[in-house]
Amino acid sequence: MGEAFCLSIGDLSGVSDLERKRVMPSCNLHYCPPSAGGWGIIRVGLLVPESVMLFVSPAGCGRHGAIAGLQLGFKRRLFFLHINEVDLVTGQHLEKVYQASAEIFRTIKPKAMLICATCIDDLLASDYEQIARDLEIEHGIPVRSCHMNPIAMDGSTPPNLTVQQAIYDFVPAAAEKDGGVNIIGSFAPLDIDSEFYQVILRARRSLVRHIAACSNLEELYLMGKSSHNILVKPGGRLAVKSMHDKLGIPYCYAPVEYGIESINNTYQRLEVFLDTDIEADCFREEAENAVRLYRNMLGNISVAIGETANASPFELARALSVYGFDVPYIFADQVLDFDQEHINWLAQNKPDIKVFTNVHPTMVEFLKQKLTVDLAIGFDAGYFCSGAKTAPLSVDRQPYGYQGVVSLLRQMLQALQSPHGHREQMYASGMVI
């Protein structure tokens, strides 16, 4: 058995590697571990309330999304138009989109619709934007196109970003702003116990809006009245740029973080961005107390961190290291600009950390290495460190701010005290690649 490909944290730091966007060197086959995936394009697209999606593709492409839809309850809003070779050669499938849409409208009366195209239509340069415009006129409801096209993953418009752009494209411009704040990038609203709501309410007396909290299309439209967008996860960066250009809403990157100092710095940036005073010191103190408390309860545990966790694995590794936990392994595929500061800190202070990538072909035999840690954060870390207890820290919930630190520590303790079966928990989450 060969050793799995891995880097030291130091290999990822430094000026020469600033341009590095992936942990795995280019030109390798791609391994797809059981723990791979996330919400997927379909589930994200269907965050638009009262919408349906017509997925246009060869039969195979939509299978994972449909099964996840059955598991998680959104399949009834999802329709498939299976296309064949003749359709592709003649372009007939584009005509069929109109027919299929008409049939869907005969069956149910959606208030909004997304048409999702795949890799093959990228290569054929099919114009789904025009089709969406036509359907909008024909049926009198908002229709947008989106793309599940991993073939464009390395370009400037990868599908995980463009789908978020598409869902916020339903938000119209508003003549008057009401001072609200939109949270963009996460799939769930910020946790209700996050202090963010309190500090914003105190500072601005304004509403905090999130797409998943909108129960109907009208509520989604109100996001256009907000005066500020706060980008909490990098997947929403095309969306906020587009909303800035189309709706005139400025944005600020204020990411989900777990380090006390990082959170403090982010609140300071938000003060400038929102042009208001943010009083969060008491929440900081609470979080610091919780860190001390949970650190004692958890003891000297070792923790592996994965990329499927609701965090930047590098920022999280830094935070946990500062709190006194041992972080020997990180599983990560991407390196974002945001990560570099944390990578550099880890390289300086925790140079022994090994970084594996989930996707390198040598990972297929990784389980034979039998890495041992006490706790894994993220399904991928839990899979590769198979003896560890797993805290999924999934993206189905969105911890934020100082309270996010408490939430993280609570989930770590829960995972250690009452662990769940990793496989069952992971498959139940309906993750799709």
Binding site: N28, Y31, C32, P34, G37, I67, E85, L123, I151, P361
Partner: protein, 398 residues
């Protein structure tokens, strides 16, 4: 409307069928795709994937490579991985995107064979066809490429061809089939796609019988018959009387007259006069045999979205193409009982009082039921179906 699916999820595609067959054979399978197709296979069509070291990879095709036709990059990726991972063969599978650019997989396979020194199989899969055609391609290719002639030497060996987890699941059904064949007098049973390794399969022309457990095994069995003169039986021994018949037929090939324990089985009558079985053809035919032989059901029709071979198709069997076909069939057929994957149930328009037997099929419902396998080989199949065949007994109303 043809092609529009409002209720059912997409079926397992052809590349999943190929992977299912090759999964345990110690090779390196490369799906020429952007990643999503491979994710379909590993996440949703392969229940053995968790904790296993089977080598299935994506070539990670990107737009620029497709537009420029840059095959060298993919070849280098495969070559590098082959050098690191010691595997016995390479399989190259297609997906929708390379289909659009007319990728020539056979040519790539020739190049790869020269570069790596490993046997390379190429499968022109495209994600449009269903798993059964992919699995069929894979079984046939194995028979053609890897089975070695034995020049007339035989042994009491039987091959089961066509059994994949997509049709038969991971449960004990294949093991039970093997044990029935051993009771018939066979010393060795090789189940391609399940437990048999490539080396064992290479010697499988020594067999005196092939058992075809799914449509996907038919082409390979016919090839083995014409090439090596090995006869084949088609069917899964579901039910008591069919299991006894299965043992008798298999034993006859060995020149033995085997009396199965269940020969004394007394047929019970069933108050379901007409039954529709929805699913893969050989599985559905085998359920039909059980309903007829064990319970005396007179009318049993088979309907399938997958391929129906004319040689084993009966009058009244229906090739389904779209969801509406099933709706119409269920209404017009006036069936008392329907057997099929639970997901078909939502498509049916049945008469009042009719019942439905949940018979999960991974090629449709994927991970939704794969951890809840049902036993159907031998008497277990009879018990499962009989309970539902009695009005007021356990049956789920449609």
């Amino acid at each position: 409307m043809k092609g529009l699916f409002k209720v059912l999820p997409p079926f397992a595609p052809d590349y999943s069928g190929v992977c299912s067959v090759l999964y345990n054979l110690g090779g390196m399978v490369v799906v020429h795709d952007a990643g999503g197709c491979t994710g379909n296979i590993t996440g949703y069509d392969e229940p053995r994937w968790y904790g296993n070291d089977s080598a299935i990879f994506s070539s990670e095709l990107r737009e620029i490579d497709a537009v420029l036709g840059d095959d060298d990059k993919m070849i280098k990726k495969i070559e590098d991985a082959a050098n690191v991972l010691q595997r016995g063969f390479i399989a190259l599978l297609g997906s929708p995107a390379p289909m659009v650019i007319g990728e020539d997989y056979q040519a790539l396979a020739c190049l790869l064979e020269k570069r790596t020194g490993l046997p390379v199989m190429a499968f022109d899969t495209n994600g449009i066809n269903y798993y059964d055609s992919g699995a069929s391609m894979a079984f046939l290719e194995i028979a053609r490429r890897f089975v070695k002639p034995t020049w007339g030497t035989t042994e009491p060996l039987v091959n089961i061809i066509g059994a994949t987890v997509l049709d038969l699941g991971q449960g004990g059904n294949v093991r039970k089939m093997s044990s029935l064949l051993k009771r018939a007098g066979f010393e060795r049973v090789l189940c391609w796609g399940m437990d048999a390794g490539m080396e064992e399969i290479a010697g499988s022309a020594r067999a005196v019988l092939n058992v075809v457990a799914a449509y996907s095994g038919l082409a390979a069995a016919r090839f083995m018959e014409s090439e090596y003169g090995i006869p084949y039986l088609v069917g899964i021994p579901i039910g008591s009387a069919p299991a006894a018949e299965f043992i008798r037929s298999a034993a006859a090939v060995l020149g033995k007259k085997k009396v199965a324990e269940n020969d004394i089985f007394v047929k019970k009558t069933c108050d379901a006069g007409s039954v529709l079985v929805i699913g893969e053809q050989v599985m559905s035919n085998s359920i039909r045999e059980c309903l007829r032989m064990d319970m005396g059901v007179e009318r049993v029709d088979v309907a399938s979205f997958f391929k129906l071979n004319s040689g084993i198709r009966e009058k009244g069997d229906v090739q389904l193409e779209q969801e509406a076909d099933l709706l119409v069939l269920s209404k017009e057929g006036n069936y008392d009982l329907v057997v099929g994957d639970p997901l078909y149930r939502n498509l049916l328009n049945m008469k009042k009082g009719s019942r439905y037997v949940d018979f999960p099929h991974i090629a449709l419902s994927s991970r939704l039921y794969w951890d809840r396998p049902i036993n159907f080989v031998g008497e277990a199949g009879y018990k499962l179906l009989y309970n539902y065949c009695q009005a007021g007994q356990h049956g789920m109303n449609c």
